[in-house]
Symmetry: D2
Subunit: 343 residues, 4 copies
Amino acid sequence: MVIIMNPDATAAEIKSVIEVITAAGLEAKVMEGSQQKIVGVIGDKTKVADVAIDVMPGVEKSVAISKSFKLASREFHPQNSVVDVAGIKIGDGTPVVMAGPCAVESKEQLFEAADIVKAAGAQFLRGGAYKPRTSPYSFQGLEEEGLKYLAEARERTGLRVVTEVTTVEAIESVVKYADMLQVGARNMQNFGLLKEVGKCGKPVLLKRGLAATIDEWLNAAEYIMNAGNPDVVLCERGIRTYETYTRNTLDLSAVAAVKHLSHLPIIVDPSHGTGKWRMVKPMAFAAIAAGADGLMMEVHPNPAKALSDGPQSLTPENYQEVMAGIYKLSQFMKQENITSMDI
Amino acid sequence: MVIIMNPDATAAEIKSVIEVITAAGLEAKVMEGSQQKIVGVIGDKTKVADVAIDVMPGVEKSVAISKSFKLASREFHPQNSVVDVAGIKIGDGTPVVMAGPCAVESKEQLFEAADIVKAAGAQFLRGGAYKPRTSPYSFQGLEEEGLKYLAEARERTGLRVVTEVTTVEAIESVVKYADMLQVGARNMQNFGLLKEVGKCGKPVLLKRGLAATIDEWLNAAEYIMNAGNPDVVLCERGIRTYETYTRNTLDLSAVAAVKHLSHLPIIVDPSHGTGKWRMVKPMAFAAIAAGADGLMMEVHPNPAKALSDGPQSLTPENYQEVMAGIYKLSQFMKQENITSMDI
Amino acid sequence: MVIIMNPDATAAEIKSVIEVITAAGLEAKVMEGSQQKIVGVIGDKTKVADVAIDVMPGVEKSVAISKSFKLASREFHPQNSVVDVAGIKIGDGTPVVMAGPCAVESKEQLFEAADIVKAAGAQFLRGGAYKPRTSPYSFQGLEEEGLKYLAEARERTGLRVVTEVTTVEAIESVVKYADMLQVGARNMQNFGLLKEVGKCGKPVLLKRGLAATIDEWLNAAEYIMNAGNPDVVLCERGIRTYETYTRNTLDLSAVAAVKHLSHLPIIVDPSHGTGKWRMVKPMAFAAIAAGADGLMMEVHPNPAKALSDGPQSLTPENYQEVMAGIYKLSQFMKQENITSMDI
Amino acid sequence: MVIIMNPDATAAEIKSVIEVITAAGLEAKVMEGSQQKIVGVIGDKTKVADVAIDVMPGVEKSVAISKSFKLASREFHPQNSVVDVAGIKIGDGTPVVMAGPCAVESKEQLFEAADIVKAAGAQFLRGGAYKPRTSPYSFQGLEEEGLKYLAEARERTGLRVVTEVTTVEAIESVVKYADMLQVGARNMQNFGLLKEVGKCGKPVLLKRGLAATIDEWLNAAEYIMNAGNPDVVLCERGIRTYETYTRNTLDLSAVAAVKHLSHLPIIVDPSHGTGKWRMVKPMAFAAIAAGADGLMMEVHPNPAKALSDGPQSLTPENYQEVMAGIYKLSQFMKQENITSMDI
């Protein structure tokens, strides 16, 4: 932390600030220039977070300079982490694909989608059994029944299952049926849920919050890791901006940022990120080129009849085209040694 | 919903769209102009939400035109609602004030703050026993111990207690000790929590999410009301924008918007809304002038030693000045019949 | 500026950074802690702006800590500035009101509006002769003819005239007819225009850019002042956010921020700020309570027939109600010594 | 346009709305359902823009549904446009690269940069002679002297020159020395400048405004095209969001959106888009994969000494790596028929 003093701060005011810092077990260093006086604070960030300097007389503002996450940071773990989900490796250089309908609507719809997903070469089946919906009157998911269909679809296809968990109470059921638990954007700072999935014993897919900074997102991962679960995969799914043409603004630079700041794998969801099926293909290719470790996409046997999120679901034909393209791109980049990352 | 067709949409494509709408039990009306063709959809909004039209051939986009919340809407309940919290009325024309420290840190700190809050004329003591914090290493609250201190402070001062509940598991305890449950910004779309506080039997203060639209916020209220709890008070606490000078951007126009769209009372939190104690006073006065039903403010006996959110906490002196001002302003406006609202 | 080094930066890397800083005529001070190394830079901000440190080996990032505006800063001029516009004082404690139609459409419309504006007690007539419009096919203003009507309306009513100038070429004409030149939101960083209005010899009303930070806005004022014109009045008119219910999000906290950072007067435009006439009244009252030095409002004799921005224009009746309220509020606050500001 | 009436709008109110629409030469169609009444407006969008319906009694709101740009729209020109800049084709399927320093600082710096740019295979040299800077005290560019150096660098290397024009007065000079005029983000809605570059006879590179919607951006292109210049190339350079890790948020989905809505070529500037040189490479690859027609990048012989924007400039080594990668990627995608677009 660096504390900027007012240009006319008195010596007594600076002394008070130093005393508060020292009392918190931190070290203070003063830099005095002709136009400004700065107090640098050195020490354990976890103590700094709880000292309120800005309200002291003579203080203009304080500026945080160090990260508050540790286990998720690349300094802590310089090599890329590879997360193993029931034998499928995420982050080892080959992109993984998680595809399926937004919501599990019926056994038939799910099986049909799973067959399409499998045929085109994905590794994971996605599909929501618990759906967080803006309106209480929208379809809320089939709940445990949906989980059972997902598990049956796994038997049928060999795909791994990733599905969202929206409440602490549902963790037990989701763990029973799924291979990977998803924490959705709306729950990224549901800290009670994060702590509990940190103890669930299965890998977690952590979506970025609707308006979460990268720092907040990595701190959310830290909650899960700090509770004992190192197997966290991040998922960029678009952030909220003023632009209304797309449902969200897909922030592909987050892929590069996360690769620099963290060792955790990161995948991209162009379906939610854009809200338009037409944009899934270009954004999927772009995500792979940017260095993403995989993709999550919505595929629906018949999007126009989907109970939720139809406009962003690919038809089976579009989906196959996307799949073919991303594997070719990924292989070509590896073979030609075209690498996005300068960690 | 209104469906905009591509300029070159065929008659067959328009027919398909109409069929899907009709199949969902809705009525379709076509308007055909020289440059554009539009299909209007008439009927129950709750059905419309689950039909995916945008992916159909010939469709450019669909535009939602009706609100998805009902119980929270002014159409449903044309008069202003007044919420009674243990005898204190919110929304009856006299502003209420909820004040206290961000977090309950100790019995002494809370009692000292409660005495200050009471002396200046507030009706509610606020203070977090469960604190949602970005980093897992920051102070997370005293939990049930903090709730007990709050209840003791109520005995001591006669103030009502409002405090945040962050998990479903904690609802029982919070209901036992508090008069009003707060759902915080990060949990505004924690739908599991909303449903449960909807059954808790106590009034709920629902803060606006960090990047929530007014429509999403009123839908969150609808979750609580639809679960059986009509006693919801909204709280504007700033939204996330590109501006970094303030912690958030306090959206006072939300007060006027909510008054137009809904019958629910709305208060304003200028402490979180600005993140700077210097800005609490002008924003508190502005909120009252805009027609808010009350204020929530952070007051700390010694802000520079606060364990969280110090920079936005008022000192006792500032707080008293704010309190005096808002009551004078409010009385003057009532007496002179200066009214902000044209519902 | 403070430079955050990577935790593993070498001594040689730190030495290089210090050399670059010293070469730029600045002073470097190193703070070395167990987890981080920081280099503080002390000296003239105008030099600092042009040194690129972030790309040097071993550097994590640099953080700017001082303001880049001077003439506009409160440090430079501790007292509130009062800007005199043809005898009307802005910033002296009594709110001024600038009202009129969005665009000058005809002599009749303008005269009718001017009479309404005058009757209700405003000091300024506003109205656009040059209109910046998103589409080239929208009405672009009457240009010089519109300016003449404005000057005639001044003769008729005694109101001062404020009107927007959108190009350097038009400055000469606008100076001839108007008392105050407005630089609109879209031109806030049209630096060529800012420099020229800095030489025009008339006071300037500088609207905040659609997505401008307060720092950028005050730097825009600095351009005008640095070119020789100290008579700058700021105008908050809403910023662009994700919220779509309002046309913009009116940032009333900017009033308090500007009062703290600068000595310049600031007024508020609730018409553009909200885009809805229903919200003008509550936001006008809120702006006055927050400490604004005045208001700009759109009034149209017949809003439903306005050629631009009708939805945000008040009818004559609404306008009179707003006017009566703000003067009463302002007087009451002065008389009761209810002051928003803690500079 | 579609007009949503209040649920309790009277027949007389609906009649008034229809009259206003008809009076503007437009056609109105009424749809009446059990819960809502809608009036559809059919006709020329340019008339619709100037009718203010929202303020009429009984109206809840109006929703615009058609685009206001024409010449820039894909409906108007279904094939992709190819813009020829002194023999270099932009938009023909082979990506173009515009590279060079942010600002022209000296002949030596520019020549050195130009040689690097040329050697790695770019087609255009970029470099600012007129620099729009937030602070009046920052380096403002060498102006005409800088233009001369650019022209000399063209002689030396054969590269085409693209450079920013910030004022109408400078157009003549820039046209004399440059092959392509750039309109920068801050001037995207400087309509006076747009109209004049529309008459300048040279191709224009139009950067997206800091907080411009895609619709506003295409309308800005429409201003240039409507003034007689069809040779417009768009450039996505990041939008302003709440995220502070990157300087802006690069919106690569804008590439896909523009390709769908317009026939104009679009390139991407990952240097300004991210503000960090480390992120240029991954975002450059992603842009090409998303279907961009080219890239603009900042390259500086010695970024740590750059007078502006150093942190986002590539070193010569990074730049060559980026160049090699994008051409390989682009060729591979063409050869394998991996196409991002479903127009």
